[in-house]
């Protein structure tokens, strides 16, 4: 039974199934950033994606915090996976994830207080970010530590990339700020709409559309129309 389970994720990861470990890991990382980008393709973790991406630094900050928790929980869950009976696996994963989130939360409060203050409730809420539990359940618990690590890095980068991009777009349109510099003169009023919640939906919608368009053209080039 164990052998069959081990092969399942390999199959889902495409041709990487029998390739050397390093190639599999690179594939895992790439998959998280592009093919299965959690925010754009899996459409997971929408709440923080919409709520905190009002500036580049906020998006990047929460993206990195989520990535830290994701990598740690993926590693631990991959290690203990075989020993946790399936009946208590969800509570076990949640306890592990919540502990990592609490640790990250306290670390941020101590070492990056400004960022911690801005992100507020969204740091504790990483616990219920479905990306993390989703990866624990779907990937980490069934794969080796190194591949779980690679998956955490890939998914984390993919999520962080989208968070930061949204922050840049919304900050530029809504406040006239490029990352941290005022680029629009005061005489040009920024489109405040983009800082407010509706702007978040709009930007995310266009990003998802763009991602779909890019992957569709890539498929077409490979001669495999969808």
């Amino acid at each position: 039974v164990a052998v069959v389970e081990k092969e399942l994720p390999g199959a889902s990861a495409g041709t990487a199934g029998r390739a050397p470990l390093s190639v599999q890991m690179i594939g895992d990382i790439k998959r998280g950033i592009i093919d299965e980008n959690p925010a754009l393709r899996l459409v997971l973790g929408m709440c923080p994606t919409l709520a905190v991406t009002t500036s580049f630094i906020n998006g990047l900050g929460l993206g990195l915090a989520t990535m830290a928790v994701l990598i740690c929980s993926n590693i631990i869950i991959s290690l203990i996976g075989p020993y946790v009976p399936s009946k208590v696996r969800i509570p076990s994963y949640i306890v592990i994830i919540a502990s990592f989130v609490t640790v990250v939360d306290m670390m941020m409060a101590a070492y990056t207080p400004d960022l911690h203050r801005v992100l507020g409730i969204f740091v504790p809420l990483i616990t219920v970010n479905c990306i993390i539990l989703g990866r624990a359940e779907a990937f980490a618990s069934k794969n080796s530590v190194l591949r779980a690590l690679a998956d955490g890095v890939g998914m984390g980068l993919g999520f962080t990339f989208v968070m930061a991009t949204m922050g840049i777009i919304r900050g530029l349109l809504g406040m006239g700020m490029l990352i941290d510099w005022q680029v629009l003169p005061d005489s040009i009023p920024p489109l405040l709409f983009f800082i407010l919640p509706p702007g978040a939906f709009l930007v995310l919608g266009y990003l998802i559309g763009l991602a779909n368009h890019i992957s569709a053209s890539a498929e077409a080039r490979r001669g495999r129309p969808q």
């Binding site: 009976p85 076990s92 203050r117 406040m175 407010l196």
Partner: protein, 374 residues
């Protein structure tokens, strides 16, 4: 019976695994907490002190105390009090806005800074901009500090602006309650107070002291203590002498009775408060009956209003002409005229989302009232 053993073994295993995980997790969280808590507390304290230093740059040394919800820092140079800073946290749009307000010995605001806030980025966060904060510098308890009156709210962030102004007001009130006495606001011009009986109150030694001040022909005719809770024997000399002394000197500032300083000061402050609201300007000047038109600048152009004065009071305010954005300005156009008539004042809170229109209507009504006073 056979299956029972297996089930119990299973349950024991589930419990063992889950308990182990929880114990390890709790231990690592506890370790992190032990490591970070002192750092976090340290940072919070430093943040507050840094803000206090910023709003009271003169002071070299601080002493702090708690007054109700407000933390008061007295700033000293050597042994001389040079001012005080107040940490207040008015409720903003997204939660409390923690801010420090520096007040000098004359009760004037030196500077204000926001320590922590969760307002909407790009809107409420603009509270920290110099252009907004500078409006408050030099203001004192005598100012109304209302958006639309002597403070220009940040467009799109009316609620945050009002909260900020409320916080400054709270700080000035605390200044009056805690530090005043030796640095209270200047005396009211007694000669200009219209006849009548005015009630005022102030905190004494053991609770509020309420007084009635009778004004006749521009003079303080009588001061009566209506309510007090002071220690009977100790406060008696103050309660007997101070009201008489105030009438004799025609001033709310007289020498305190030794041994009952707090009660003395409370009576003086209560008289001061009773008369403070009556200064000319606060009392509306007589309005001539009639229908007057006035103009004010709104968001997209002039707003023309018609004000009907009946019996010396505003009976109706009607908007004749405007070029405001219809949907956005509608709440202001509906609520502000009614509010002005209801409160008989143009100093009404702006409608959130339509600050410019609200202020334009108020300005137009003021313009009309100026004509009614001629």
């Amino acid at each position: 019976v056979e299956g029972g053993g297996v089930v119990i073994k299973d349950i024991a295993r589930l419990m063992l695994v889950l308990t182990t995980i929880c114990v390890v997790a709790a231990a690592s969280v506890a370790a992190t907490e032990a490591m970070t808590t002192p750092l976090i507390l340290d940072r919070k304290a430093n943040e507050q002190i840094a803000a206090v230093k910023q709003v009271l740059p003169e002071a070299e040394r601080f002493e702090n105390e708690q007054h109700k919800d407000v933390t008061v820092y007295r700033g000293f140079v050597g042994d001389n009090l040079v001012g005080s800073a107040f940490i207040v946290a008015p409720q903003g749009y997204n939660g409390p806005i923690r801010m420090a307000v520096g007040v000098d010995l004359d009760g004037k605001i030196v500077d204000v800074t926001v320590i922590q806030q969760d307002e909407t980025p790009g809107l409420g966060t603009r509270l920290s901009e110099a252009r907004f904060i500078n409006q408050f510098k030099g203001k004192s308890g005598a100012d109304t500090l209302r958006a639309g009156a002597d403070i220009q709210a940040i467009a799109g962030a009316t609620i945050s602006s009002n909260a900020f102004a409320r916080g400054v007001k709270t700080a000035l009130d605390s200044h009056k309650a805690v530090v005043a006495g030796d640095t209270g606001p200047g005396p009211v011009e007694v000669g200009q107070v219209p006849d009548g009986v005015y009630r005022g109150q102030a905190d004494g030694f053991a609770g509020p002291v309420v007084v009635d001040v009778k004004m006749e022909g521009g003079r303080i005719a009588a001061v009566t203590i209506v309510e007090q809770n002071e220690t009977p024997a100790v406060s008696a000399p103050a309660r007997e002498k101070i009201p008489a002394l105030i009438v004799e000197k025609q001033s709310a500032e007289v020498d305190a009775v030794a041994g009952a300083t707090l009660t003395s000061k409370a009576i003086m402050a209560a008289v001061q408060n009773a008369l403070a609201g009556t200064a000319p300007g606060a009392a509306p000047a007589a309005l001539n009956d009639g229908v007057y038109q006035g103009q004010g600048e709104g968001f997209a152009g002039p707003i023309t209003v018609e004000v009907t004065i009946t019996g010396g009071k505003m009976a109706a305010v009607k908007i004749l002409q405007h070029s405001e954005t219809p949907a956005i300005s509608a709440p202001a156009r509906e609520q502000i005229p009614a509010l002005i008539v209801e409160t008989q004042s143009t100093q009404v809170d702006a409608v959130a989302g339509a600050t410019y229109t609200s202020e334009g209507i108020a300005a137009a009504v003021e313009d009309a009232l100026a004509k009614a006073k001629q």
